[in-house]
């Protein structure tokens, strides 16, 4: 089963890389956008704010 594990680890490393918090943040931001848009409100502003915030937080973690 070691090849299954190494394949899964490879896929994780390839898609998510070394910052899983940002990947989770992207999924959460898309979910919040869907919730707001589903309620009939204006939702386009969520993603730009989320992307800039996620990048800034990721850089702050990396710079420490």
């Amino acid at each position: 089963m070691s090849w299954v594990r190494s394949t899964l680890e490879g896929v994780w490393e390839f898609v998510v890389g070394d910052d899983w918090v940002t990947a989770v943040g992207v999924v959460a931001a898309l979910g919040v956008t869907a919730l707001i848009a589903g309620a009939g409100a204006t939702a386009w502003w969520v993603m730009p704010i989320a992307v800039i915030s996620l990048l800034a937080l990721s850089l702050r973690r990396a710079a420490r």
């Binding site: 992207v26 730009p48 850089l59 710079a63």
Partner: protein, 261 residues
């Protein structure tokens, strides 16, 4: 060609050029020290695997409902784009070493010289495997970018053509200089690709999740420069924080030296 299609082609061209430069360094190092024939077999095998991947996943992606496709594509482009942008900003701010193709070439050449001689059917196993691995790994990210951009716009052909042009340009430049392409402004290209991937990911992800952009496609004309400016601002912020930390360390060292004296 529409503005969105131009953005698609430019993003794929830049991303593919950067990855092709890195793959070329490995193939050049292995080819010059071991065997050109075995290296080319490795390159051919990797291109075949990538082509099968694109041919298999392309139709599967294009057959998805548009909104689901946009959420998946937007999410993937954002995860990839933010990784590219984060590394490019850290390099521009001096917090991460710049990619040095000359040093990589020297390291790969030394490793190729010291590796065991093992041939299978007249093919140098080391040269084949290193070229195969280098081209496959560098090409995978480009394949995902080609597929996601192309599928979302139903222009996989255009995305593949842009990737082909990038590879041809890098190979021609490599043949012309017969050395790794160390003068390519790799970090600036990675910064631009990170901004483009993240911007398109933001746009398509929000649309797929049900949001409507003011101005439709024209919103990209604000998102792309807006994210580029914000990222440049983050480079300046990190440089300033780094300079402040260095000044504080020097002041502490002087104070400690003064106490000792």
């Amino acid at each position: 060609m529409s503005g969105t299609e131009f953005g698609l082609a430019l993003s794929v061209l830049l991303a593919c050029s950067v990855e092709a430069v890195e793959a070329l360094t490995i193939v050049l190092a292995v080819g010059t020290t071991r065997s050109w024939r075995s290296s080319f077999y490795g390159v051919g095998a990797a291109i075949a695997v990538l082509a099968v991947l694109i041919a298999a996943l392309g139709p599967a992606l294009t057959s998805m409902p548009l909104n689901a496709l946009r959420v998946v594509v937007g999410g993937l482009l954002l995860v990839f784009g933010l990784q590219w942008l984060r590394k490019a900003v850290l390099r521009a701010a001096g917090l991460k070493a710049l990619h040095d193709e000359t040093a990589t070439f020297a390291a790969e050449t030394a490793a190729a010289r010291s590796a065991d001689e093992r041939s299978v059917a007249g093919i140098d196993a080391y040269a084949f495997l290193m070229s195969f691995k280098g081209v496959l790994l560098e090409g995978l990210e480009v394949a995902v970018i080609v597929l996601t951009f192309g599928a979302n716009q139903h222009r996989i052909g255009l995305a593949a053509a842009a990737a082909g042009v990038a590879i041809a340009l890098v190979v021609l430049a490599g043949v012309a200089v017969r050395a790794p392409l160390a003068r390519v402004p790799e970090n600036a290209m990675k910064f631009a690709v990170g901004v483009m991937l993240s911007s398109f990911g933001t746009f398509w992800g929000a649309e797929g999740a049900g949001a409507s952009w003011p101005g439709g496609d024209a919103a990209l004309l604000v998102i792309v420069p807006g994210l580029a400016l914000a990222s440049l601002g983050m480079v300046a912020w990190l440089r300033s924080a780094r300079a402040t930390a260095a000044a504080q360390r020097r002041a502490s060292a002087r104070a400690a030296a003064g106490e000792l004296a």
